[in-house]
């Protein structure tokens, strides 16, 4: 049986919604709340790259990032009625993407610990899943190797620092935007970033000495 979403098909949005302006976002949200399929399609088209790349930065796995991005848009569709516009639409999406990605990260690490434990007890004979290696052949070069090391170390930061660092240095968000996503102050974001950089440089320092 074919299943269709209870979305009304409305004509393509006429306003320039690709700009990300708050007024355009408000129009988009209003149309989404009325159940417009065109508005939902526009929302996905406009934000899919940002949501996906944020999830990818935190998970470093295309499959996991895809899963998170899909979850985010499903959640947006299901909870758009509760969006009151207190924050920007992009802020809300970044917040959903980062929290979902961190949830996936926790689930993966729990699964990995459990697999390690069962392998110790001999319950499972399969080998432990290794983190996917997305190294490009260019990674053989020194610079790319350092970049790969940096990405590994970013993955080991505490969650809040990791999100702040990723949003700042990969998504290029301002301190104010990061504060809005994390629901904290700009000073707290500065502190998170300072500690993140300090930790990363401390771990990468030996590598730097040999460059």
């Amino acid at each position: 049986m074919a299943y269709s979403l209870p979305l009304c098909v409305t004509p393509e949005l006429s306003s320039p919604l690709g700009t990300g302006a708050p007024a355009a976002d408000a129009v988009l949200v209003a149309q989404l709340q009325q159940g417009s399929e065109a508005a939902f399609r526009t929302l996905v088209a406009r934000f899919q790259d940002r949501v996906y790349s944020t999830a990818f930065s935190l998970l470093r796995s295309p499959e996991e990032a895809e899963d998170v991005a899909q979850e985010v848009f499903v959640e947006v569709y299901q909870t758009i009625d509760r969006f009151r516009g207190e924050s920007a639409l992009s802020t809300w999406l970044y917040r959903l993407a980062t929290s979902r990605a961190l949830q996936h990260q926790r689930r993966l690490s729990t699964h990995k610990r459990f697999a390690f434990f069962t392998s110790l007890l001999g319950f499972a004979n399969h080998s432990l899943p290794e983190p996917p290696d997305h190294a490009h052949p260019q990674a053989l070069l020194e610079g790319a190797q350092q970049l790969q090391q940096l990405q590994q170390q970013i993955g080991r930061l505490p969650p809040q620092q990791q999100v702040a660092f990723t949003l700042r240095h990969e998504q290029e968000l301002s301190y104010e935007e990061i504060a809005a996503v994390l629901g904290t102050t700009v000073a707290a974001v500065e502190s998170l970033l300072f500690r993140a950089r300090q930790t990363l440089r401390r771990h990468l320092h030996p590598a730097f000495r040999h460059v």
Binding site: A69, L204, H205
Partner: protein
């Protein structure tokens, strides 16, 4: 905030590394992402109604179930026949029939 506790010679390298991180090509989802989101949304909505067994969701079966519950509930007051209108209506076997009025 100063980073004076770090190796002074590594500042430029660190800045270059961060710059390199920013310059990385942005990852994108595979083509037809919207179609996959749409399918997932449809699946999640179908799943939300799937907690009831399929036969319960058919109105004929639901009505039959309702009637069956009423029939076996033991409280048949609603289904009892009304009091007989004619004087002979309430006759039961083993009882003498009432006499007709004069």
């Amino acid at each position: 905030m100063s980073d004076s506790d770090f190796h002074p010679g590594s500042d430029a390298e660190w800045a270059e590394l961060l710059h390199q991180l920013q310059r990385q090509p942005k990852t994108q989802p595979r083509p037809f992402f919207y179609a996959r989101v749409h399918a997932r949304l449809a699946a999640s909505q179908a799943q939300a109604t799937a907690w009831l067994p399929a036969w319960v969701r058919r109105p004929a079966y639901a009505a039959l179930l309702g009637a069956l519950i009423l029939a076996v509930s033991g409280d048949g007051a609603a289904l009892r026949p009304a009091a007989p209108a004619s004087p002979y209506g309430g006759y039961h076997l083993g009882q003498p029939a009432p006499l007709p009025p004069r």
